[in-house]
């Protein structure tokens, strides 16, 4: 199905991706978990699960619950900690040519900086993604991402230590004006913005009268949120990203090529697949195929032409 005439590459700052498809943080493991289902080298990029300074067990179960066309998760940033990650997981990445981004999280700004410093040493990594938008941890997390002053501070501090690594800042949709947050991140050094993280939400078990999730609330992802995500991406593109020349990595509910193209037309330079991989672990590569077919059908020679072309 490869067609030499269609240029699928897109630029994320100084980095050229072979195509716009990227795995979303927390939905694709650390590196090799998807090996049985696809050739990771076919991906435009890979963003790992959130990494914190110390290992985290994460929340009690149930950690997920299905909703209409969506799911809530409250994994609670379960992860092996940055040290073990650097020792065990970064070497796995050597097997692939794909650019890897590590998503980082923390309870304090110092913690973010400490993790970023460690990861900045790893030659294999293309960049870091700052998760200031996780709704499932008690301290830090979401509170950073909803306050422009904190976004400015944390982005600035982390930027100082990442050296030449690309810095992605991941935005939460749980705000009145996402452009204000986007502007704060861009002003203080974000090379790339990514959006959207999940919506805080709750499912109640009416038989027990308790929330289903052990963490009570969780983050809503999946096709249910896609139309809100498309709107927010287009808003940030028009109000901030386009004029600032900052590329957007965007998603929310993507599960097929049409969904991905919607995000690209709205302004995304690259598209993330999250929940979609749970249902069809090979969907990213199928989407790349689908985008190629769409371009052929529409006489588009380079997918980059589509970015933000919404009429």
């Amino acid at each position: 199905m490869k067609n030499k005439n269609i240029d699928l590459t897109v630029n994320l700052g100084t980095l050229k991706l072979i195509n716009p498809l990227i795995t979303a943080s927390g939905t694709c493991g650390y590196a090799d978990e998807l090996d049985d289902f696809m050739d990771i080298n076919q991906l435009g990029g890979f963003i790992t699960k959130s990494i914190t300074l110390n290992p985290r067990l994460g929340n009690d179960v149930p950690r997920i619950v299905e909703t209409d066309s969506g799911m809530l998760n409250a994994i609670g940033l379960a992860n092996i900690g940055v040290e073990k990650f650097v020792q065990e997981k970064v070497p796995l990445m050597e097997r692939y040519k794909t650019p890897f981004f590590v998503n980082i999280a923390g309870q304090t700004i110092d913690e973010y900086v400490a993790v970023a410093e460690k990861l900045a040493q790893c030659k294999r990594l293309a960049g870091l993604e700052l998760n200031i938008s996780c709704p499932n941890v008690k301290k830090g997390g979401i509170t950073f991402g909803t306050d422009p002053a904190l976004v400015r501070q944390i982005t600035g501090e982390v930027k100082k230590v990442v050296n030449d690594k690309l810095l992605i800042v991941k935005l939460t949709p749980n705000v009145t004006d996402i452009s204000e947050i986007a502007r704060a991140a861009v002003d203080s050094g974000a090379d790339i913005l990514s959006l959207i993280n999940t919506f805080t939400a709750m499912v109640i078990d009416i038989e027990t009268k308790k929330p289903v999730l052990a963490n009570r609330t969780g983050g809503l992802s999946g096709p249910a949120i896609k139309p809100i995500a498309v709107y927010l991406v287009n808003k940030v593109y028009n109000e901030v990203a386009k004029s600032a020349g900052v590329p957007l990595v965007a998603g929310g509910g993507v599960r097929n090529a049409s969904d991905a193209i919607e995000f690209i037309i709205a302004g995304a330079a690259a598209v993330t697949i999250g929940t979609g991989s749970f249902v069809n672990p090979d969907c990213a590569v199928k989407i790349i195929d689908g985008i190629e077919k769409y371009c052929l059908r529409h006489n588009i020679t380079a997918v980059a032409e589509l970015i933000g072309c919404l009429k």
Partner: protein
């Protein structure tokens, strides 16, 4: 666990049969596409598949049980995990049998599958039961919906260890909840040594309990098990317990395994978003080597665990 996980894949399967066994229990036979043979030929008892049922029809309104009427309106997004109750895989053909109980929107939709329909599944997933060479006897403990993988295990055990002595303990809420088993109803006298067809064909002696006493021993299956272990005192080195069922039952079985010093493997269930180690939704709290807590993944490290590695809460 120690079995080597086989490579996983995504396959289409066609329905050979989807037959009701009582009101809410069904037996689904699936023939996988040829490409799957290489993946499933080494699959072991206790492994499972994730089936995509999102595009199946709901039964007509009058066939939806009242308690599921509301939840049936929910659209399905995620795949659903099901153990093999049997698997027959060769170079030519892979057939898997699934025994399922209608509990919610996904299993309700599965009811509408007909011979010739196709479904999409991912498998084989997880790690199954291990079958140590030295054991002379095996005790199977099935609670409620936990029977399917043990039915499969019984068959495999008999095939691999012809001399192994197997005893099964099967518990359910009521007689009607035993429907995974083809019990001849005329045999359903209230005594605790009824032989269930699936186990009987492998010459397995079976003890039944029901919470309400409507068949077999009245009480929990683990009470019945405790009584028997107390009487027979099997040697821990020669015996192994395999259990599958509700978490409370597994926890009680694990306690008996400790008390009687008999090694025990349990098959756990968790809500699973992916089934393949991507999402960490299926965490099982376990002891790590240093005595601390660690979360293992039910879908990848399990669903079968040693009873003594799990932290029961």
């Amino acid at each position: 666990m120690t079995t080597l996980p086989s490579k996983k894949g995504i396959f289409t399967a066609s329905v050979l049969q989807n037959r009701g066994m009582g009101a809410q229990f069904f037996r689904l036979s699936l023939e996988l596409e040829k490409r799957a043979n290489a993946f499933f030929c080494a699959a072991s008892a206790g492994q499972f598949v994730e089936i995509d049922v999102s595009q199946l029809a709901l039964p007509v309104e009058k066939l939806i049980p009242e308690n599921l009427a509301d939840s049936s309106q929910r659209n399905i997004l995620l795949r659903r995990p099901f153990s093999f109750a049997d698997i027959d895989s060769s170079n030519d053909c892979t057939i898997i049998e699934i025994l399922y109980c209608v509990l919610g929107p996904a299993t309700l939709r599965m009811k509408t599958l007909k011979t010739g329909d196709t479904v999409n599944l991912i498998g084989p997933l997880g790690n199954g039961f291990t079958i140590p060479e030295e054991k002379k006897s095996a005790i199977l403990v099935a609670g409620g919906m936990g029977a399917p993988p043990l039915i499969h295990l019984a068959k495999v055990l008999k095939k691999q260890h012809q001399d192994i002595e197997i005893t099964a303990f099967v518990g359910a809420k009521t007689k009607n909840d035993l429907a995974f088993f083809d019990i001849k109803t005329d045999k359903l006298k209230k005594k605790p040594d009824i032989t269930l067809h699936q186990f009987a064909k492998h010459n397995i002696k079976t003890f039944i309990s029901t919470d309400d006493g409507s068949a077999g021993f009245k009480g929990f299956v683990t009470e019945m098990l405790k009584n028997r272990l107390g009487e027979n005192k099997p040697a821990g080195a020669e015996t192994i317990i395999y259990a599958c069922g509700p978490e409370a039952m597994l926890s009680a079985t694990a306690a008996l395994s400790g008390e009687f010093k008999i090694p025990c493997q349990v098959s756990l269930e968790r809500l699973m978003a992916c089934g393949i180690g991507l999402c960490q939704s299926c965490a099982v709290k376990c002891k790590d080597k240093n005595g601390g807590d660690v979360y293992k993944l039910c879908c990848k490290d399990g669903p079968v665990f040693w009873a003594d590695e799990v932290i029961w809460e």
